[in-house]
Symmetry: C2
Subunit: 673 residues, 2 copies
């Protein structure tokens, strides 16, 4: 952009282009949210035209600034920005706003629309994703930059509204962002004083600048969100202070729906079309003499960022090439991390562990087996970023080579604090940024807290690994608040989620392998607190673990099949042995991952679970899912809350014993005769 352009086309005209695209698209769809795009148009105009370092011609450019629209209902703002900047999002897509298979869905979806960095809509999570992205940048910069070679050097910008700030996850993520000193995280708060229920003063009385000061943030308060110069000055100040290691919150006073002659400033403009009359009046009031979806050439020119972006990326590439020449090993490592591939070394370490480790093949809690795996593979996977929501010693998520992340950006292990939801959403951001395979631990019961972020990882097809330990009543005395019952079933219900519940050390190692090798979705590892007996497998059986379910123990003419997962496999095996003494032949199937098993070819499923063979399932949790598997058979589980007592007693109290299984088999065989 040259000076002449600046003078001939004022900033407000560029901002108005966003406003009209948003208003027209919502009107066309007769659905959507014009208020936030119109209220934030001036802020967006300044950020995107003067500050954002990106290249619309290559949305995947690694060192681009990340931009997150945490108030995702304002999606039309982002689509307008992407279209105008020159991303591959033609006007035809804007006209198709919110229509089936368009690239402009109701809320932004990463992977669908070029330039969208994360899927937002569930409030607060975009902000937490951005904290993860800013952390990713800081860790990578610290690891790979060298004097004179700033190859990792970008900002993470966030737009957010009152809703994001009311959500609890904003506290979790922003508190940690302050402690971690994420100085290149710059958040712009659309402080319009309105939420869906109306004037927020009745339910949101926070003094937000003070709150963020308490988090050790750099707060720039009282910025006029419709004054381009003021916004520009604030962003410039924020960027200039990045090295001081305080994230920045810029509080922008705005009017929701700014520009709408009669509706601006009211919650009516939040989530409904303005109406043809209002839009016409707005066109008149703002001297916008262009038809709907029509953009004058000077505006198009003023927005297009392809040329500048291409030059910027080319300059960075030259820097990168110089760095690569100086530090080829680092460059190879970074390339591997960015590829997301699991190196052969990792698989070899896993194989060696499986073949040689006594500890893995002893009676061992699967949480401990998981730690043995991590111990083996961590040195081979520099992108692995471990952590726990303040349960490291219980989740056993750390290893000897763990270095705690500090506010200088060093480390490979993060104590996220007691922030399950924040952890999960930050891990989504780390994965989205690239360069990391994040895993984080908490107790399975607290997957409730992080649940929607797991869902978002599944929706966004991100490899995020959840280590959920203390997976059943087997945790014992902590009692019903801590004992998962419905959690396994509930996690399995999330589309595109994979839930692994291994029964011993070997299955744990191969569950880790599966979730690491899975590139298009999250993996949940469900691990025991208590020690579990190891089983011996032949080579074929070991390979079959990856199929999600396989025959662990068989007889020539099985009369029934026992299906179990995790700690209950041992019970099934004992029952099989006891039944053998009565000349009742049963097969035992271990099914560590039902999602994988039930997407195997029918031939494999039928081989493992022959149709017609009576089925009994046993799992220390809700039986609902299993009823659909056993059909007329028996699902042994727990459908009430747990109790506080030593684990062994609880297994008896809840009837999860070999005896119960034997009774169920006898009873079922009697009925089916």
């Amino acid at each position: 952009m040259n000076v002449a352009e600046k003078i001939t086309v004022p900033d407000t005209r560029h901002a108005d282009a966003l406003r009209f695209l948003a208003a027209d698209a919502v009107e066309q769809a007769q659905s959507g949210h014009p208020g936030a795009p119109m209220g934030m148009a001036d802020i967006a105009q300044v950020l995107w035209r003067r500050h954002l370092s990106h290249n619309p011609a290559d949305p995947g450019w690694f060192n681009r600034d990340r931009f997150v629209l945490s108030n995702g209902h304002g999606s039309m703002l982002l689509y307008a920005l992407l279209h105008l900047s020159g991303y591959d999002l033609p006007l035809q897509e804007i006209r198709q706003f919110r229509q089936l298979h368009s690239k402009t869905p109701g809320h932004p979806e990463v992977g669908l629309t070029p330039g969208v960095e994360t899927t937002t809509g569930p409030l607060g999570q975009g902000l937490a994703n951005a904290v993860g992205m800013a952390l990713a940048e800081k860790l990578l910069a610290r690891r790979y930059n060298r004097p004179g070679h700033e190859i990792v050097d970008h900002y993470t910008y966030v737009f957010l509204g009152d809703g994001c700030l009311m959500e609890g996850i904003s506290h979790e993520a922003c508190s940690l962002a302050g402690t971690l000193g994420l100085g290149k995280l710059i958040c712009l708060y659309d402080d319009n004083g309105i939420s869906i229920d109306g004037d927020i003063s009745g339910w949101f009385g926070d003094h937000t600048p003070t709150r963020f000061a308490a988090y050790n943030w750099n707060v720039i308060a009282d910025v006029d969100g419709h004054d381009a110069a003021a916004i520009d000055a604030a962003i410039t100040q924020a960027k200039s202070q990045a090295s001081l290691n305080h994230p920045t919150l810029i509080c922008c006073r705005t009017r929701i729906g700014h520009g709408a002659p009669t509706k601006a400033g009211s919650h009516d403009v939040h989530g409904a079309p303005l109406g043809a009359d209002e839009i016409a009046a707005m066109r008149a009031a703002r001297n916008w003499h262009h038809a709907e979806f029509e953009l004058p050439q000077d505006i198009v020119n003023g927005w297009n960022a392809v040329k500048a972006g291409t030059m910027r990326q080319a300059a960075w590439q030259r820097d990168y090439d110089r760095w690569q020449a100086h530090y080829p090993d680092d460059a190879r490592e970074l390339a591997l991390r960015l590829s997301g591939d699991i190196p052969a070394d990792t698989l070899q370490e896993l194989e060696a562990l499986l073949n040689t480790s006594d500890a893995l093949h002893s009676k061992v809690a699967t949480r401990k087996a998981s730690q043995l795996v991590l111990e083996a593979i961590t040195p081979t996977l520099p992108g692995l970023l471990g952590g726990s929501a303040d349960l490291t010693g219980s989740n056993l998520t750390n290893v000897k080579s763990s270095v705690w992340v500090n506010h200088h950006g060093q480390g490979n292990y993060l104590s996220y604090g007691v922030r399950e939801f924040g952890m999960a959403a930050m891990m989504n951001g780390l994965a989205l940024h690239g360069g990391f395979i994040p895993y984080g631990g908490t107790f399975l019961t607290f997957s409730d807290y992080s649940r929607n972020a797991i869902r978002m990882a599944a929706l966004m097809k991100q490899r995020v690994i959840h280590v959920f330990t203390h997976d059943s009543i087997g945790l014992g005395e902590d009692g019903p608040t801590h004992q998962p019952i419905e959690h396994l079933g509930a996690l399995r219900l999330i589309p595109n989620n994979q839930v692994w519940r291994p029964c011993d050390g070997e299955e744990t190692a191969l569950a880790w392998q599966a979730v690491l090798q899975r590139r298009d979705g999250p993996g949940c590892l469900i691990l025991s607190r208590q020690g579990l007996t190891p089983f011996t497998r032949d080579k074929a059986q070991r390979a079959e673990i990856a199929r999600g379910g396989y025959i662990l123990h068989d007889t020539t003419q099985p009369q029934a099949v026992l299906i179990a997962t995790g700690s209950e496999v041992e019970i099934a095996m004992k029952a099989a042995s006891a039944l053998q003494d009565e000349a009742i032949a049963v097969r035992v199937v271990s099914m560590p991952c039902v999602e994988v098993f039930f997407t195997q070819p029918a031939s494999w499923q039928d081989q493992v679970l022959p149709p017609g063979l009576p089925r009994i399932s046993i799992e220390a949790g809700a039986s609902g899912f299993w009823r659909g598997v056993v059909n007329q058979g028996t699902a042994i589980g727990i459908d009430t809350f747990g109790e506080s007592a030593p684990a062994g007693q609880l297994y008896h109290y809840f009837g999860l014993t070999p005896d119960t299984v034997c009774d169920a088999v006898r009873s079922l065989l009697k009925t089916s005769q």
Copy 2:
């Protein structure tokens, strides 16, 4: 307590009684958390012996101060306090800490142990429950107190730790508590600088006093948590300022495990027994010459609060009786509210609505039908407290007589802000306090955010009503982040939860009746955004709705049964009609509440779903649950994420149409022939 006692038995001795009971009980159980009880013993001693207004002889005394141990892992502190104060919790129960069927489970459980006000353990929620309790007190006080008659007048005290403050829900609840001006909420923060992962400075750098100042709280910082006089002064100051309408946070600097000679101040003391040697050394160091679980008489006397409590309650009763004599109508109303009964008026209004309302029997969104119900019953139920997490106009949770709760304590409707989890946990507190039937709305997909609080309501057997609207892909353009898929199934998995998904206005009214009349657990109402066609029922059918599932449409010789819920009942009915034209006779079962249906007598279940009759289910969500119901039949559902598009298109895209159902029936009948 008289002055002589004060002199002869110092405060620290009384606090040490708590310490030794906690340490000995954890040691006996070889399981539990001694650190928090020992660190907070001095604070507890001051609060419980000098301030707490309660009556151990009547734990249900309505005007008692509420005490919430939000850091519930410190349960032994609470059990020690209850035992020593004279609650019906004998020493034998303390010895049985964490054993099966004891009254001293790993985490405090309301309803199990006299004097426990709420079940705590999942961090942050106790604090949010307490905000609900304090709000309950404020609303009741404003409604029923008269000059000279302060019959509702109690404090709500909370103990909380770093974990509670890191959790996002602490932000949601405390922000709202500040805005609502809950001046009688007094929180004591156990600021020991230690969490499970160690020294918190690496992951929790908040300046907490500043943070709470931003919430408009009264903050008393830097109190020595082992100095009884300082603690006493802080609590006294907090109480004296109650009328200024600022909740109080007292930040107490403590040492975790204070008293343990070598382990105090370290995270080792958080969640593991101290060990016999350490306890012996502590006995010596603190001059505690009593065996384990042995309490000297002077300490017993100094703690016992039965006499003082009985007198306090008697004095209150005299006040109450005078108030009752002056204001008999108010007294009757309050008594009704505290009884929790649903008055006959309410049921009559529902009946009248069912018999006379055209709107209820028109094509109507069930969210709108729900509003019609609320409109009818709200005037009859003064304890009904409505609300929404900032989606009032979408959830339709408000009515004409809604008065928004303000910081003077007036109102019957609360805009909770965008705080789903906080809302759910506050509603739990409102229900636990008594005098309220809370209901709150949000979109079904955001039940993920509040999920663990719904679980806690189920575990605590509390009547809390969740109004979840926008219940499927039928919400249309907002897309996959907002379209529930797995949520219905996941909510059904929570033990003791009841999930109602009505198919039209009548079912909606009777679903409301069911959740209102349910006294021992939460109810979730799953409501449509879009209009649904009404069905006609005879009187018997209408009554059968309460059984959770019933025959909506039948034929003399059905060849198959279609089972549907909510918006899909209409699809099933259309399919039945189409099949009739082909001379295929099918029954249609509407099943608005599977939890209720599957706990009916087998005779009813068999009558509705005759064994052997092929079954096809249809529900716009995850099919997992239904596979267990249809067995060899067909479960039509959606097991992938949704899409952004108009609702009608989505139903076709996902194959939820009468045609699909007809195909499934034909195919199933062919197979089963």
